[in-house]
């Protein structure tokens, strides 16, 4: 997501450009598409992702005076989305929601034969990702989707970089283990 070009303003020589604080509405329109994509990748579900982001944006509106003073308000929001998704409260809130497996949905949709294997592989990976603990999945999303390094991931999650490395390592090991088990069947 790129920032909109700054509006042209006339600045008289010797006059400092006054700082115009960005309104919440302008900020929200700028970051919402990116935040929704991130939230959806994090949750692995369109509706849960949208729900998390919407809740966070409502709270961010209340705290906008503080958030806009942060170095990177967009990263601040990303951290809020991550924390909200990982929060105990939301886990309790959504624990009864069991999304239908994509494998089941594709079986109902009867994909074209030549794409079947490829789709099955992708669905299998998505299923294995869905079975990871949320924090481990978050580490992988931040690393592979957001392209952050371990130190940056540690900042977003509020943990030590060593914890990020061990979480990523455990997540990747679990994915490999699952893949091996599937191949043996």
């Amino acid at each position: 997501m790129t920032s909109p070009p700054p509006a042209a303003r006339v600045v008289h020589p010797g006059t400092a450009l006054p700082e115009e604080p960005e309104s919440f509405e302008v900020f929200a329109h700028r970051v919402l598409p990116d935040l929704l994509r991130y939230g959806t990748a994090l949750a692995g579900d369109r509706h849960v992702g949208a729900d998390v982001v919407q809740d966070v944006m409502v709270r961010a509106h209340e705290r906008w005076g503080r958030i806009r003073r942060a170095d990177r308000p967009d990263l601040y929001l990303k951290r809020m989305v991550t924390n909200e998704h990982l929060s105990w409260r939301r886990r309790w809130h959504t624990r009864s929601v069991v999304p239908t497996d994509d494998v089941v949905l594709h079986a109902r949709a009867a994909p074209a034969p030549d794409a079947a294997d490829q789709l099955a592989d992708r669905d299998d990976l998505r299923r294995r990702l869905a079975e990871l603990p949320r924090r481990q999945r978050a580490v992988l999303v931040l690393r592979f989707y957001e392209g952050l390094d371990d130190a940056e991931i540690a900042q977003v999650l509020g943990v030590a970089p060593g914890t990020v490395r061990s979480s990523a390592s455990r997540a990747l090991a679990a994915l490999r283990r699952e893949a091996t088990t599937e191949e043996e069947r």
Binding site: Q54, V58, R89, R126, L140
Partner: protein, 228 residues
């Protein structure tokens, strides 16, 4: 086997299914409106509570006998009714209100532990949702989420819980409780009202019962004093 590229592609495909930002923005605006309306209701309730408290205090003051002494002495006697006082004129009068003094408003800054802090402590200690359910059974309380908050506050205070992470409840019911009613009672006895619970719950983005239970527990622990 999943390569890095497979993972990038999988997350990218998930991200591409994101909801329409315009639709979500409508939801955000509705949420902001709902919160604003709720805050206004809470504000009105707080004003009513403050006016009622003022009226009670004023009524108590006006109803007190004039011969009870100068105001300064009367204030001292009311604040700390000492049985060893040798001056009859400073003894508490029968008109002293029996309700607790109205404490300052409850705010996040005034409460040392938030529900999020408490849950995090519970989580960090290795406890899971299943543990919270087992603890809720042991403590005879229907909502394990409240139990997790109270247990987390105990952990933050350096106390041990009656069951270790993943462990079954003690056979003899050791460490059991009869609900969290003491917490709810402590909240009310400290002079806090429903409006306080609503305001704090709003600030914490939690439900009111969670706010009452946690504040009550912190009062019982002595970690929160209603009048500082």
């Amino acid at each position: 086997m999943s390569s890095d590229d497979d993972l990038r592609r999988a997350f990218g495909e998930d991200a591409a299914r994101a909801a329409d930002p315009d639709e979500v923005w409508v939801g955000v605006q509705q949420g902001v409106r709902r919160r604003r309306q709720r805050r206004e209701r809470v504000g009105a309730a707080l004003v009513l509570t403050a006016v009622a408290g003022l009226a009670i205090s004023l009524g108590a003051y006006l109803g007190a006998p004039q011969e009870a002494g100068p105001p300064a002495e009367r204030t001292t006697a009311t604040a700390s009714p000492s049985p060893t006082s040798s001056t009859p004129s400073t003894a508490p009068t029968p008109s002293t209100p029996s309700t607790p003094p109205t404490p300052p408003p409850l705010t996040d800054a005034a409460v040392p532990v938030s529900p999020a802090d408490a849950r995090q402590a519970f989580d960090d200690a290795g406890y899971t949702e299943d543990d919270a359910r087992r603890l809720a059974d042991l403590w005879r309380w229907g909502d394990p989420a409240h139990v997790a908050v109270v247990a987390g506050a105990d952990l933050l205070a350096g106390e041990q819980l009656p069951l270790a992470p993943g462990e079954a409840a003690p056979a003899g019911g050791e460490g059991g409780r009869d609900g969290l009613y003491e917490e709810l009672a402590a909240f009310g006895e400290a002079g806090y009202t429903q409006a306080d619970a609503t305001a704090l719950a709003e600030e914490w983005d939690e439900d009111e019962q969670t706010a009452k239970v946690l504040v009550g527990h912190l009062l019982l622990q002595g970690r929160l004093r209603p009048n500082g």
